[in-house]
């Protein structure tokens, strides 16, 4: 790492994690694009790189790049929060290489082996065929070892150094995050039991532990980027944890409406998942309130300058506050009640929600953390937007919002024709697929996907070069 201002080994490791994360983000978009093309031109790469393979790569790259960026962000903030170098950093670096090597092997196997015979060897060495957590069993064990090593470093550092509220929340949250992965690591012939525990990983990650993680990262960002007061920020954080876990843990019931589980999940799932948007509103208000408050304090001093020390990162943090509320909150609430979900479950509507929620809640803030790392690595006091920042941000945000709108329109047609009118049969399904709303929706999704992909190149270019620009205050 030439010309680096970083003296902390933990922060250096963070930049490695961010580099791999950004690369995998690109891979996610590339394979998403392949799948999007296949909706429009079904023969595209048929029996070469089929939709099932492209989509598996699309969603696995998504999960893995986010986990990489999440680990990276923790390694980045630990020295600032605890005041000491991360304990066990050499092990951390070793685990980084183990993780990266494992992911590379898994991706190559997905791409070139794709499918095997129906026996346990395929589950151990090719993939497990369970959406989002397809990684083969050997990689599951590897991921668990890496995650436990990461959690151990976090705990040892937190216990040795200054344990701030943010670090305390992260410690509790990350041990749950790692532990929950274990619930997705067994095989059963009972598909209902299979999906019941599968949701323990997926739901309790993205609608509970990951959201709390975002709360902690947002808190760190507000303190470092606009100088928000720690006491206020950490009080908000505890309130957010209360609301997120209070609604999100039992909100899991909304995945248990139709998989063979008892009827009482209708009421439990409806009530608690309907409450899930509330903490997202709180987080949104919190970010904007603190921003206004800090800017107001500055104005009161008669100073006409922005309090933001990292413009691109803060933009992504504000986009997170809004995107989390809109994508996870509103688009999720749209179809969370059982009387609606009976028809929307497993349609393009879910896909619309998935795109905006993962992007709004997680991609945004993690990209923001990458900009914070660029700032730190280059020793910049105030990081300003470059032209590429503007292009990257507007194209990626515009592209994802466009895809979401297109998929929502397609989803209406899917829900109403295939489900409500035709009773979800094979014939009903293809009738819905042939409607103008759905076919044109898929074309628009592809166009918006291309825009997002081009935006990614601006983002990559920006992250690589913005630190050397002379537009900043050093």
């Amino acid at each position: 790492m030439a010309n680096s201002y970083l003296t902390s080994e933990s922060k250096k490791l963070a930049t490695w994690y961010f580099t791999v994360a950004a690369t995998l983000f690109g891979a996610q978009l590339l394979f998403g694009l392949v799948a999007a093309i296949q909706y429009v031109i079904p023969g595209f790469l048929f029996e070469i790189l089929d939709f099932s393979v492209a989509r598996m790569l699309h969603i696995n790259a998504l999960v893995v790049w986010m986990v990489f960026a999440m680990f990276g962000a923790v390694y980045w903030l630990l020295p600032d929060e605890t005041g000491i170098e991360t304990v066990g950093i050499e092990v951390g670096k070793l685990l980084f290489w183990v993780f990266t090597a494992a992911v590379t092997v898994v991706v190559l196997v997905y791409l070139f082996i794709q499918v095997g015979p129906a026996d346990a060897t395929s589950i151990w060495f090719i993939h497990e065929g369970r959406e989002y957590i397809e990684a083969p069993r050997w990689a599951d064990i590897g991921i668990t070892v890496v995650a436990l090593g990461f959690v151990a470093n976090l705990f040892m550092t937190g216990m040795k150094g200054n344990r701030s509220g943010i670090v305390t929340v992260l410690m509790a949250d990350m041990i749950a995050f790692a532990g929950l992965y274990l619930t997705g690591m067994f095989y059963t012939d009972n598909i209902t039991v299979d999906q019941f525990w599968w949701w323990w990983v997926i739901h309790l990650w993205v609608e509970a532990t990951w959201e709390v993680y975002v709360g902690a990262i947002a808190a760190y960002g507000l303190i470092t980027m606009i100088g928000a007061h720690r006491k206020v920020v950490e009080m908000w954080l505890w309130i957010e944890v209360t609301m997120l876990f209070g609604s999100g843990i039992l909100g899991m019931g909304h995945h248990y409406f139709w998989i063979g589980t008892p009827e009482y999940w209708w009421e439990i799932g409806a009530l608690f998942s309907a409450l899930e948007p509330l903490p997202l509103v709180a987080m949104f208000i919190h970010v904007l309130y603190d921003w206004g408050k800090m800017q107001g304090e500055e104005s009161a001093k008669g100073l006409d300058r922005s309090v933001i020390t990292n413009k691109p990162a803060f933009t992504w943090f504000v986009l997170n506050a809004f995107g989390n509320f809109l994508g996870a909150g509103i688009w999720g609430f749209f179809h969370t009640l059982p009387q609606v979900n009976l028809y929307t479950h497993g349609t393009q509507f879910t896909s619309a929600h998935g795109h905006l929620a993962f992007f709004g809640a997680y991609a945004t803030i993690l990209i923001g953390m990458m900009y914070i790392a660029v700032q730190g690595k280059n020793g910049i006091k105030i990081l300003n937007n470059s032209t590429s920042t503007i292009f990257a941000t507007s194209m990626i945000v515009g592209g994802v919002v466009g895809m979401t709108v297109a998929l929502t329109v397609a989803g209406y047609s899917d829900v109403i024709i295939s489900r409500a009118q035709m009773g979800a049969t094979w014939a009903g399904y293809f009738d819905a697929q042939a409607t103008t709303w759905l076919t044109q929706g898929m074309v628009w999704r592809l166009i918006m996907g291309v825009i997002t992909f081009v935006g990614f190149f601006f983002l990559a270019k920006d992250l690589l070069t913005i630190g050397k620009s002379n537009i900043h205050v050093r």
Binding site: Y39, S52, D119, G165, D189, V193, S351, D431
Partner: protein
């Protein structure tokens, strides 16, 4: 110093967070025990003695399965072996599956195991939905066994040149790209004859799971307005 309000005290909110999280977690774990007992797989003697399970045993493949509106629950439920006076499963009427209706518990379990494993290895879930979960590139498989397309009046038996539903499904699964049913075709996944048999058993078993009425009106509506 003025007395501070508890509402602006970090320790208060930290404790609240811990209590609420703990309470929600304990409730979830308790409900998990209850649900686990209700969704455990039944066995052959349940079927023979007329015990309704949410997830029946593998030998359900020996029985006729339908999906009927239940007056009491006000939604459709899987009905196994014909309907009794209460509108639920009578467990009487058998149906041949690959020429037999006497699959033993061991044989049926082995077949279902092969099928469920096959459904994962062949990555069904990244195009189809199973119990509504998965990808939306191909039809939902929850009640695929009951789909009119595969029945005597549907096109699939004639297309594959087979005279039963299970044989038509197995033939299609082995050579999907030979039978182009739609511009969006299923690729050849190297499914063997035995694996195909297992997969069809898995589909038949899945159609017998009580999914609280999902999907609604399955196979009941013909020729509705489709908005094209």
């Amino acid at each position: 110093m003025a007395k501070k309000s508890v509402w602006s005290d970090n320790r208060f909110w930290q404790r609240t967070a811990a209590w609420i999280t703990g309470f929600a977690s304990v409730l979830l774990i308790w409900l998990t025990f209850d649900t686990s007992a209700q969704i455990s797989m039944g066995n052959d003697s349940d079927l023979k003695s007329g015990v309704t399970k949410r997830v029946p045993g593998p030998t359900v493949i020996n029985y006729k399965i339908t999906y009927e509106m239940n007056k009491k629950r006000q939604h459709e439920i899987p009905v196994i072996g014909g309907m009794n006076a209460e509108g639920t499963s009578a467990f009487q009427e058998k149906e041949k599956f690959f020429g037999r209706d006497d699959w033993s518990e061991e044989e049926a379990t082995e077949l279902l195991h092969l099928g469920k494993l096959g459904s994962q290895v062949k990555n069904c879930m990244n195009c189809h939905t199973l119990l509504g979960n998965g990808a939306y590139y191909a039809p939902d498989l929850t009640k695929a066994w009951l789909d009119p397309a595969w029945g005597p009046t549907g096109p699939m038996q004639a297309l594959t040149g087979k005279s039963t539903k299970e044989e038509a499904m197995a033939e299609f699964l082995q050579n999907p790209s030979q039978y182009p049913t739609h511009a969006r075709m299923m690729p050849n996944l190297g499914i063997t004859a035995e694996e195909a048999k297992g997969l069809v058993a898995f589909l038949k078993h899945m159609s017998s799971i009580d999914t609280n009425g999902f999907p609604r009106n399955f196979g009941k509506i013909q020729g509705a307005v489709n908005g094209k």
